[in-house]
């Protein structure tokens, strides 16, 4: 298990492409109204459950995120 904060910067959690800084302004804007879909560390598609209040996203390798 690698801590999530070490994962930031590797893959875009919205589109799953390499998250080179500054190249995903559209994704960043869209994420205000969307949960993440890809694990930022390993690029796996996560199992995402949106609830009326909040959401959870699970990577089989790197665990759960909540928002």
């Amino acid at each position: 298990m690698i801590p999530m904060d070490e994962a930031i910067g590797m893959w875009c959690d919205r589109c799953g492409e390499a998250a080179t800084t500054g190249t995903h302004p559209g994704c960043a804007a869209a994420r205000a109204l969307e949960p993440p879909r890809y694990c930022a560390h390993c690029r796996r598609r996560m199992k995402v459950q949106v609830l009326p209040v909040g959401w959870s996203a699970v990577c089989v390798e790197h665990g759960e995120l909540r928002g």
Binding site: L33, P35, Q49
Partner: protein, 331 residues
């Protein structure tokens, strides 16, 4: 004042008779300079025939993603390269979601599944889930599970589901451009059975799928013919990986004109803001729609995307002096 608005004032506001397809089209074609007057009239119609209350609803996805159908706007179809994965919600989480929804003052909780129609596993999950909610939460339960058989309609009635959502999505003439795995008529058939069962019919759709203004008017007229208890109005939020993923969002003014026109076609229906309003209308436009024919909202998040916070919406209703419909008024 354009002639169509004079006609609508007499026919819809005074008489309670909705505009027909030609009338709706005339409203949709009004230039921007008449938008304020159009919204004002639609608001008067809503106040006259529905009253000031706003119905508040929360929705939750019981089964997300992996749907075998190909609705071109939908991130939950398993046929596209959408990143949405299949996931099931467990019953304790479902009950918790219902509680959180009820805590906002909402009277409606709609359980949704991304399926062509329910199978035995989904019906079992529904039976247990609805019973658990009814045992613990004071809220009306609605469902949206795709196309139903007559037996499934009866089962849902038996569970105490009081309203069923099944959107026609778009007008009959445009539907084959949006969905190829089932027909508009199949959807209509489910709606017919729901109506016959005594459940309330909830049926709306999505604007901005590429339909023409004429087809938007056609859709309003077809919904008016169905005469649903509730019409949820979505605006396309283009989803990555879907065939409509690159479509532009509906212009704010066109969205507001459509809200007013749908209200003038259906003076008595519950006209609900559903998905896409955040990106199409923003905060200001949301307010304009509530003063232009809308009398219901979905609060909180949607099925795969997030919404404005319920607190913001409830504050807006408070500012507009629109009371939230109470549970006692819905029973």
């Amino acid at each position: 004042m354009p002639e169509i608005l004079d006609q609508a004032r007499n026919q819809v506001l005074e008489g309670g008779v909705g505009l027909d397809q030609a009338g709706v089209l005339a409203v949709l074609n009004l230039p921007d300079e008449h938008l304020t007057a159009t919204l004002q009239l639609a608001h008067e119609v809503r106040m006259r025939w529905c009253g000031p209350e706003v119905e508040v609803e929360g929705i939750v996805s019981l089964k997300t993603g992996g749907c075998p159908e190909d609705c071109h706007f939908c991130s939950q179809s398993g046929l596209f390269t959408s990143p949405v994965r299949s996931v099931w919600l467990d019953i304790p989480s479902l009950v918790k979601a219902a509680k959180q929804t009820a805590a906002t003052g909402a009277t409606e909780f709609c359980i949704v599944a991304a399926v062509r129609g329910p199978d035995a596993r989904l019906m079992k999950q529904m039976r247990e889930g609805v019973a658990a909610i009814k045992a613990e939460v004071d809220i009306q339960v609605a469902a949206s599970l795709g196309m139903l058989t007559k037996e499934q309609v009866d089962e849902l009635v038996d569970m105490g589901v009081h309203r069923y959502n099944h959107n026609l999505e778009t007008c009959r003439s445009y539907f084959p451009n949006v969905v190829t795995t089932h027909s508009w008529e199949e959807r209509w058939e489910t709606l017919r059975m729901v109506r016959e069962s005594g459940m309330e019919v909830c049926c709306g759709g999505i604007l901005g799928l590429g339909e023409t203004v004429e087809q938007r008017a056609e859709f309003a007229a077809q919904l008016a013919e169905l005469d649903p208890h509730e019409v949820p109005l979505n605006f396309l939020n283009p989803r990555p990986g879907t065939p409509l993923g690159d479509r532009p969002v509906v212009e704010g003014k066109d969205a507001l004109r459509a809200i007013a026109a749908f209200r003038l076609a259906m003076p008595r229906t519950i006209l609900r803001y559903a998905g896409g309003r955040e990106i199409t209308l923003g905060d200001l436009g949301t307010r304009d729609g509530l003063l232009g024919g809308i009398n219901a909202v979905i609060v909180g998040n949607y099925l795969t995307t997030l919404g404005r916070s319920a607190t913001d919406d409830l504050k807006l209703l408070d500012d507009l002096k629109m009371p939230v419909k109470a549970l006692s008024a819905t029973l």
